[in-house]
């Protein structure tokens, strides 16, 4: 079980290899990719920034919770930070279990809780030249854009 923040590009093949387990019948992975639009606006790139010390602690708590809730064998969650281009991998979650139900449920739990609770922030760069910290608008959409 491990959670970490990475400033280097993620390698899904290498990450998946760390989950190999002869007892496992199921491996479910989630990859979050930088996509070319968000809520109708063309996106050029993304910046991710983390409060690494607390992110590591909160990530470890989420893994512990997942292990208590689901019948897991292994779990890995890695989140990129830095400036990412379209199509780049922003977050990778992989879970192994004897049976696929637990693997799906745990993978979903890990990414949902990570996105909701771990102190990692996302700034979108739009084709218009404007930027915005996501979820930080306070006076309508993108009110903080470009500040």
């Amino acid at each position: 079980m491990s959670f970490r923040i990475s400033s280097e590009p993620l390698d899904p093949t290498a990450l998946a290899r760390t989950l190999a387990d002869a007892r496992a019948g199921a491996c479910v992975t989630f990859e979050g990719w930088v996509r070319n639009r968000n809520e109708g606006q063309p996106v050029l790139s993304l910046e991710y920034e983390a409060y690494a010390l607390l992110a590591d602690k909160e990530g470890a708590r989420i893994l512990t919770e997942a292990r208590e809730k689901f019948d897991l064998l292994g779990a890995v969650c890695v989140h990129r930070v830095g400036h990412l281009q379209l199509g780049e991998l922003a977050v990778w979650v992989g879970v192994t279990a004897e049976h696929r139900g637990a693997a799906f449920d745990a993978c979903r739990y890990l990414i949902d809780e990570t996105k909701a609770r771990v102190p990692i922030w996302k700034k979108e760069h739009y084709a218009s030249g404007v930027t915005a910290w996501i979820n930080c608008a306070t006076r309508g959409d993108f009110a903080d854009a470009g500040r």
Binding site: K57, P119, W121, W133, I134, N135, T138, R147
Partner: protein, 80 residues
């Protein structure tokens, strides 16, 4: 008066123009300090959308600050 070490991330870092600072304050809680800083630096996020961490653990906004604490204000995370 207590001395606090503050670290800024994301939108707060940009609006403050600093990644960290050390200051002396009479604020007794994270919420009180955030309001003080918000008035001074024009932070756009209201206090109820910002969480606090002291010495790298989440704390409530009403937490009692102590001399030498390391404090981080946490804007809403990336989510979705």
């Amino acid at each position: 008066m207590i001395t606090l070490h503050i670290q800024y991330f994301a939108i707060l870092r940009e609006q403050r123009g600093l990644t960290q600072e050390t200051l002396v304050t009479s604020a007794a809680t994270p919420t009180a300090l955030y309001e003080e800083l918000r008035a001074r630096h024009g932070f756009t996020l209201p206090a109820d959308r910002v969480r606090a961490a002291v010495n790298d653990d989440f704390v409530p906004g009403t937490h009692s600050l102590r001399d030498g604490d390391r404090l981080v204000f946490i804007p809403p995370v990336a989510g979705g």
